[in-house]
Each structure stands twice: as C-alpha cells, then as structure tokens.
C-alpha cells in the first residue's frame, strides 16, 4: 500500500484545542485535505522549496515501499508567516531529509498538508520557532526555548 495509514498521537488537551481553535479551522483543511488519507513519509528528501503566497510548498521525493520514488508537495504557511517564525529560504535545503506527517489532498494528487514535519534528529520543523531567529514570536517553554 502506497500510503501508510497512521493513527495520530492523541495528545491531552483536545478539548482545549476544540474550544480555542480559530473559528475557521473547522472547515478549511477538512475541505481540501482528506481525513481518510493520512500520509506518513518516513524517508522524504527535499527537492524544492517554494516560499510563495498564499502558501509555501515543500516538494519532497518519497521512497515508496515498492522501491519507486514519488514527488509530493507539502503545503505550509505564507512566506511572511514563516519568516516571522524564523524560517528563511536557507532553513530547508535541497537534499534535506524530512519525516512528513499529514493528509493527502481530496483530489488524489500527490499533495498533502504538513501536519507535522520532523527532521531526522526529532526536531519539529516550523512547529518550534528557532530561538532568537524569531524575536517577535511568543516563545513556548520547552518548544521554542530549552
């Protein structure tokens, strides 16, 4: 099977998420991405990064279990949001390995939203801003700061 079905880790605080998530959050991604098609790529290699409005895209080559390689596009935030978070055009380089956890688009194309993007050393990409590279961000203890 090309797409491994995964069960997302259920963190405490789902109720808090539901009560505090922005009003629009309940519609947007569910309209574009398919909750029945989670993707979890353990071995993805960055081939291209597009910092563009309205959303940035990270292209990755993914080794499939049958040995073939597929190129997938992973959606992320707008460039100035990523810049504000300390992510610049130099943050992700071609050839960089990534673990992608997300959901495939409903039209069945090789696109997914980046629910969690993780570097091989376990660092969550984007989800923690990079310390003093994001001076205007609210820093979260244990995530953005040690």
């Amino acid at each position: 099977m090309r797409i491994k079905l995964t069960v997302g880790a259920a963190l405490a605080g789902i109720a808090v998420l539901l009560s505090q998530a922005p009003l629009w959050a309940h519609h947007a991604f569910a309209a574009e991405f398919d909750e029945k098609k989670p993707v979890n790529f353990k071995d993805a290699t960055v081939t291209r990064v597009q910092l563009i409005n309205p959303h940035s895209w990270i292209y990755v080559d993914v080794k499939m279990p049958d040995g073939t390689v597929e190129n997938w596009a992973i959606e992320a935030g707008s460039p100035n949001i990523l810049l504000r978070r300390g992510i610049t055009k130099d943050t992700l380089k071609v050839g960089q390995k990534l673990i992608v956890d997300g959901y495939q688009s409903k039209d069945g194309s090789h696109r997914a939203n980046g629910r969690d993007l993780t570097l091989p050393d376990g660092t969550k990409l984007f989800l923690g801003s990079s310390g003093d590279g994001a001076p205007y961000e609210v820093q979260r203890p244990g995530i953005d700061t040690k």
Partner: protein, 362 residues
C-alpha cells in the same frame, strides 16, 4: 479549498456584526460632527530594543531632501483595533501584564495539539506551520482617539442605513460584507478576497495570526509615493499617493483603494484619501475620507496614523496609530501576493453553495 475563505469571512462578518450591534446599542449618537482631532500620539513607554538590529539612528532623508519613508515595514506586536472592556481606561499595559499575557499565549496547547480523530486532526492544522503568534504590545488599542479606544457611536442616519446588525455601505459585497446568508448567491455578492480584488483599505493587521495587513513596502519619489500592501490570499494592492498638488479625481471616479494626495508638513507626510468605492466599518463611501500621517520616527521605525472621517456615519472622527518597524535583512522581504490557490476559489465557492442548497432541499 473554498471553505478556507468562507469561514474566515464568516468570522469577519460576525465580528463586524457584533461591533455594529455594540455601536448601535450605544446612546447619544446625534451630536454634531467634530473636526478631525490634532493628535499627538504617545509612543508606547520604554519601547523594547529590537533584537538583531543596530540601535536606531536618526530618521534618514532622501537624496532630494524629504524625510525617507522607504523600505519594507512590518507589524511587530499585536495591538487590537479597539480596547477591550478588561483594559478600559488603560492605554498601556505594564511590562508585567505583557509578560503574563505572552505566557498565557505560549502555553496555549492549541498551537499544535494533535488529535486521534483524523477529522479533527485535519481541521486543527492551523498550527505553527501556518500561523504565527506575535508578542503582545503594551498599547491596548490601535485607536488613540476617542480616548476610550473605541469606534465612536453611529449617527442616527447610519443606524437607519445599516439597520440592525447592518454593515457594508459600499458596493454590494464589495468589502467582503453583505448579508452572510446571501453572500454566495452570485459572483457579484461574493466577498472581495475570493474574487481576487486585492487588499481592502485601510490595510490593518486585525488578524495578525496571518500575514494580512502586516507587511508593506514604500517606494518614494519627489512627486509621488507608492505603497505595496502584501496580502497572502486576496492579491496584493499597490497604492499611489500623488504629492504634486494635483486635485482629487472627480467624485464620480471611485476605486477600492481610493484617491490619495499627500503633502509634507514638517517631517510628516499628510495624505488625504477620498473617492472610495466602499466604506470601512459601515462608512458611506460618498462622504468617507481618511487623513493619514506617515512619520519616520527613526532609522528603524515608521508611524502611521489614520483619522477616519464620515459625518454621515460616525458621531465624530476617530484616529488610530500603527507602529511598524524594520527587521533584519532576511526578514525584510516582500512577496508577490499571488491570488489564492489556483484562482479557482470563486468557482469553488459558488459550486459549493449551490450544492449545499440542493442538499438542504432534499
């Protein structure tokens, strides 16, 4: 994809409705309009040093001797448009209060909580991959006049025009407003953003979780100045402000960004914008105008004040102040505001609305 726009606009509509209702419920609206106040904006006390930047130097001048407003300017702190009830009578928070609020924001698990329920998990993806939480400003409202930090009450005429919960006042649906129940009836009533009609004036950071209203670039000449306003979804906007004493366009010529004329008063560029095709916060576009003051405070900081004047809508003019700054070079960048994904938004919204109608009939 289409719902990505419907829902935020719904939220915006709801917010506008609440504001309108609050304004309508206030009394004492029928005062004579007062002239635009001569504001002396107060900078937030003890502005914190901006990390990664050299100490601010004096405001630079252009080669031809005018104050130099040029550069990419960035909203660096979160300031609400109106002051909350919790901060009534308080123009500035203390450092301790700011720290406490930021601590609260930092602890919000909603910033990347995952869910075992995949439907919730997909919907909750507006996490830190997609948004950014700016630090809290000491300033408790963008509004500096009236002193209570609130939009003034509506005139009796505006209440009658806008009706209970009414809003808009411009071309139908033009400002992303209109009646929420019928907004997706046809292409003309769909809000502005999904029609890729560019940013809306006055370009404010009212939802700084996202980039809208937070980044702009000024390019200046002796006789005109342009402001590129980046907006991730709606398509950007490029304002031109003429500074060569030419008169405003005839009142019959209207545009979304309005018609701007500027002149220097000391180190401040004072810009009057008229001829709007749509009002702001219920303003009547025929009588609504903006007086804007741009001041380069120092090498790192730009102050933008806007006085909103419409005697047909508000019982008095009101003024906001926006402080923008420069960031380090890697964060200076301005990006083309391509319209939304694939430019299929409008078709998708209309098709979706028709399908929902059919489903309701069944």
């Amino acid at each position: 994809m289409r719902h990505r726009y419907i829902a935020p606009l719904g939220a915006l509509a709801l917010m506008l409705a609440l504001i309108s209702l609050a304004a309508v419920s206030m009394t004492g609206q029928a005062q004579a309009p007062k002239p635009a106040p001569a504001t002396t904006p107060k900078a937030a006390p003890a502005a914190t040093a901006k990390p990664g930047l050299p100490k601010p130097g004096p405001a630079p001048k252009t080669a031809w001797g005018d104050p130099d407003l040029q550069g990419t300017w960035f909203i660096m702190e979160n300031v609400p448009l109106e002051r909350s009830a919790a901060n009534a009578n308080k123009q500035f928070l203390t450092e301790d209060e700011v720290a406490a609020l930021d601590k609260q924001k930092a602890a919000d698990p909603g910033r990347n909580a995952r869910s075992g329920n995949t439907e919730q998990d997909v919907s909750g993806a507006y996490n830190a991959v997609f948004n950014s939480v700016l630090k809290t400003s000491k300033r408790t409202s963008m509004i500096i006049d009236p002193p209570d930090g609130k939009i003034p009450p509506l005139t009796a005429e505006a209440q009658a025009r806008l009706g209970r919960g009414g809003r808009g006042g411009g071309i139908p649906g033009g400002g992303g407003r209109g009646n929420a129940a019928t907004i997706n009836d046809n292409p003309e009533t769909v809000a502005q953003s999904p029609r890729c009609l560019g940013v809306q004036m006055p370009f404010l950071a009212t939802n700084p979780l996202f980039a809208q209203g937070t980044v702009m670039q000024i390019v200046q000449g002796p006789k005109s100045m342009s402001i590129y306003m980046e907006d991730d979804h709606a398509g950007g906007g490029n304002r031109v402000i003429f500074m060569d004493n030419r008169p405003h366009m005839p009142s019959t010529v209207k545009s979304v960004l309005g018609d701007s004329r500027g002149k220097w008063e000391g180190n401040t560029l004072v810009v009057e914008t008229t001829n709007f095709a749509q009002g702001f916060r219920g303003a009547n576009p025929d009588t609504y105008r903006m007086i804007e003051k741009f001041t380069r405070v120092d090498s790192n900081d730009l102050r933008r004040e806007i006085t909103f004047i419409d005697e047909k809508t508000w019982t008095r003019p009101w003024t906001i102040m926006i402080e923008m700054g420069k960031t380090d070079d890697k964060r200076h960048m301005i990006f083309d505001s391509a319209c939304h994904e694939g430019n299929y938004g409008l078709t998708g919204i209309l098709v979706g609305a028709r399908r929902e109608e059919q489903a309701q009939k069944k």
